[in-house]
Amino acid sequence: MEQKNRATGEFPLNDDELIKLIRRVEKGNLSALMMLYDATGRLLFGLILNILGERASAEEALLDVYTHVWKQAAAYDPEMLPLEWLSELTRNTALAKLPWSKRDNGKKEIPRSAASEMTVVPEQQKTARSSLERIESAQRELLEWAYRSGLTCSEMAAQIGKPVGAVKNHLRLGLGTLGESIHPVSGSETGGKGGQIEARKSD
């Protein structure tokens, strides 16, 4: 059957629906993989494009990501939300393709314009955006650079001429603020998202 909602996010899916799709992919269901692509393709392509900055290699990386999902759906970690798992997998795939010469732009910000669409699980996407905004700007700049480049603290410190300790401190504080803001109760694992994830593990 012709699929018209190709990677448009036209039908947003919630976490449980995404998990069901991943489980069906695990069983070798190609249609489930294509539905997963339709639902999440735009988000993951945006992420890859942001890291690689070049469409041709971004397209190849996107294919690699979903091929990996096809082969390794069984490796889905139920302690993460499906989009978090996909986001992690996508970042790793993109960084593996990123040439070292393109890892030095510390000034570039991650684009998250208020007007842009959020189509996969909009609540999670909105929370992620507002949480990033809460981080102090110097910490956020470094954090986004580290995320996008995969550079070590020493490499970043050398490039911007600051002590390694200061870079580490900024990253830790920034990531701490982000974690508390995105998953406020995950530390206690007693409820909220953490609780939901615990409950899914027993499914």
Partner: protein, 296 residues
Amino acid sequence: MRHERATEELRELAALYALGSLTLQEARSLEAHRKEGCPACELEFKKFRRAVAGIGLAIDEATPPEYIRDLLSARIEREPQPALAIPAVQADRENPAPKAARPAPVFSALTQSQKEGPNMLPWVLAATLAILGLMAAYGWRSASSTNEQLKAKLSAAQEDANGLGTMLDMRREKVENLDRVLSAAGKPGSRIARLVLQTATPEYSGAVIWDTELGECIFLGNFPLPPEGKKYQLWFFTQGAKVPAGALNVNPAGKTYAKLPVPREAANAGAAVVTLEPDNGSLIPTSPYYAVGRID
């Protein structure tokens, strides 16, 4: 060594490890520690790992070219299916030697035994029976595994059909909703209110299309999920009354679509208002107006 609780130093290590910003040596050292099983460090690592993944969700989306979907489909068709592969069965199928090769020695042995004398015959017959038994067992096992595979494929196909059916229902419902909106908006007597959020930064967040001929309205909105125990409720305000029109449900994507009857008392309403009310609804607005629109 297991840590009683996470120190600042451990948190920093876990955060930088999750971000991939440790040197190889530092990362290996932490990995070795993780293998020892330290719950305090593991908890910190998981927390930071999810935070890092969250950064990716904040990035603007981008539409991949249409052909990527076709390329993906073609690429996957060439990949082995991850779950249906049954190694033991595959191995048997790839090495059909027992089936093809074993009979030959049996018959040559039989021929040999006839030449040598009758004493060998029982052994040859026993061997033949044993081999025939093995072949039968192999055949049964092969048929059984094929059956299992077909069952798995059937189950996957059924799930696939269910999934497609759900998608089709969703699309059908969407088309029907759009038809209703177009029909209501296109009627000469229809009235429309555009709803504006009553927040520090007012913005349009929905609309009410009132089909005066049918005495019903269609509500379209884009609202965040309400707090637990609360629901959005639509009101029609006339000169002297605030008429409740019904509850509004928000789907996980933050979209609201509702077709509601317009009460007769609301016939001369000049405004449509949305408030947050208790789950079971309210007869009068009990909270500040969430969104307001003049009915034109």
